[in-house]
Symmetry: C2
């Protein structure tokens, strides 16, 4: 976006955005650069208005006060849009990915041109509300996205090789970025969430589907070749729609859980009702929730075994299930752990559907900052 800035300057700006206001000396220590270099790197950022000097803060002890450098979070706006089969979720955020406005509208159809129109519409409405220039729009979908350009394959939308970014770019006059939905959520955790401080972490989401994101060495690892949804957990569990017995999808997706409980009770039950029933002691619902939490625990153990990553974030619209059955989660984690000091406890981050849209906004923020 600002190709004139040297790489090192960008790294400094990103550090301030991600870790908050800091003095030049602090930044120099963290990056391993010298103080003179930091002065030099920061100057163009101040000129460009990316950073500003905040009032100098006194630290206990003597010496000159340090001047904190901070980003200007509210000069520009970003828009995030997440597509699902039923709805389009959109948020307007500032540079810190704080949500300032949001909109949910029903997906008109899965017909590509209609979706393009709907998204263009919601983007222009959000832009109208922005009051500031919009720096970028991020759009995320479930499924494989190729080079930020094409929806290579989305089983949910039933799209294949759709050049969605280009199609939408004809209708939106703001820089546009396309990505996978879980990648967006992972990037959001990496810059503005739990992953901020760590070089390695994994993100596991449960809800309508099962999502999985992985960061190793501060970089998102592309893990979409074969999705986690069909990771086998217990070959004697229920059947998923794809015909796999006891895979993650069969155990933890909202629809699978609601179906199983509906069958057991002999009447239609929603996912939210399943959770409520489980909490109030209904045996069928409690068993389904426990099995789901157990499956999540097993998946966590497998993630740690195969990636070495100990820090795992659990999230997604359905994540409350693990809070209802923490013991089952724990059992699933340690069952096969061979006495090894068990890994760190997961961080549970509750989430609504708009978080997906926020993840999309972060795609735009990361791509267009500074």
């Amino acid at each position: 976006m600002r190709p004139d800035l040297p790489d090192a300057s960008k790294a400094v700006a990103v550090d301030v955005l991600v870790h908050g206001a800091q003095s030049r000396v602090q930044l120099a220590k963290k990056t391993g650069l010298s103080a003179p270099t930091l002065t030099r790197l920061v100057r163009p950022l101040l000129d460009a208005g990316v950073l500003v000097e905040r009032d100098s803060v006194r630290t206990p002890g003597r010496g000159r006060s340090s001047v904190l450098l901070d980003v200007v979070a509210d000069d520009y706006r970003y828009i995030g849009v997440k597509l699902t089969t039923e709805s389009i979720y959109a948020v307007l955020t500032n540079l810190r990915a704080e949500v300032l406005a949001s909109e949910t509208l029903p997906e008109p159809s899965l017909n590509v041109p209609e979706v393009v129109s709907s998204v263009a519409g919601v983007v222009s409405r959000m832009a109208a509300k922005a009051g500031r220039p919009v720096r970028g729009v991020g759009v995320t979908v479930g499924g494989r996205v190729d080079k930020g350009e094409t929806v290579a394959d989305s089983p949910f939308l039933d799209w294949h090789e759709v050049p969605f970014r280009t199609l939408l770019a004809e209708r939106v006059d703001v820089p546009l970025f396309l990505a996978n939905d879980v990648v967006g959520l992972t990037l959001a955790q990496q810059w503005f969430g739990y992953g901020r401080t760590y070089r390695d972490f994994a993100l596991l989401t449960v809800g309508a589907g099962v999502g999985y994101g992985l960061v190793i060495n501060h970089e998102v690892v592309p893990t979409l070749v074969s999705p986690i949804g069909h990771l086998p957990v217990d070959p004697h569990g229920p059947l998923c729609p794809a015909g796999h017995r006891g895979c993650m999808t069969a155990f933890v997706t909202s629809r699978a859980m609601a179906n199983t409980v509906s069958l057991a009770r002999g009447r239609s039950t929603t996912y939210d009702e399943v959770l409520k029933l489980a909490e109030s002691g209904d045996p069928a619902a409690a068993r389904v929730v426990a099995e789901a939490a157990h499956a999540v625990g097993r998946a966590m153990a497998a993630i740690t075994s195969l990636t070495g990553v100990e820090r795992i974030i659990l999230s997604g619209e359905g994540v409350r299930l693990v809070e209802i059955a923490p013991d089952s989660l724990h059992d699933g984690r340690v069952e096969y752990a061979d006495g090894q000091a068990s890994a760190l406890d997961p961080v549970i981050r509750p989430m609504n559907f708009l978080e997906w849209a926020r993840g999309a906004a972060v795609v735009a923020i990361q791509a267009s900052f500074p």
Copy 2:
């Protein structure tokens, strides 16, 4: 080892070692550097004797002949030592990790001082055979190794927090490097094996134990926090010594397979006999081998799901089992694959115990080159 060489020079030398003799122009293209820079980077390497100019080779077409740069593979020697509970395996190699001599001796006991003595002995015998200066000794063990210095925890040797490198360094006057055994094997694949050309791959070994190494972005990812050996495959499978039902250890380790077949046949059967029986159609042995191959296939699918890595190398002393039952391996891989175009076929690399020692030698080569 040669701290005077700039990083970029080292990278060039490594490229020549790993990918073979190349001209300066080829190297410039690959590294993205300019021709003048390459001339400059190569000069100190020629002065130091790390690289030499081979006779210029004519390529079809006009223009000046290019001069190939190559490493001098036989000026120095490296020694690799792998410790197991029963034996010590040692190899003498050149810079290309080609084995020139080897020795296997029974492990005297698992008593640390005795092992130190034995290793010091075998190292001095190998060094005597070397005929050239020995540049480094690599030692690998199963279990967690901390900072190349301490055997933090090795269930096999029953060692805990043993500062093995320092203890051994008092008896060996050559630079000494300590690492985990699977890490060594992974490094060997990365520089001298299948992984040479790829930025991401995984290594899965079967034999006395189950080993797993992972390379992402050309870097080895530490995956030892919770080992793969207890990855659950089928909760209704056999029991492993740690009490897990149907984990990898229970299915694929040589001892587990030999035990199961011994029980079924009512008489003691070795692993090699199990393979022979399976090949000749013995139903019990064939079933055990098929189940093991199936377990390996499931593990491969899980690796791809959770790491995104499609290239997987199968190896280890027991790897022949997957060649006996390729269909079961395939079933395990695709069973839960959800129709996704199945990943690449695994590369099967047969291996004997000395390969472990060669992996140890590569630890020394990587650490002390150039």
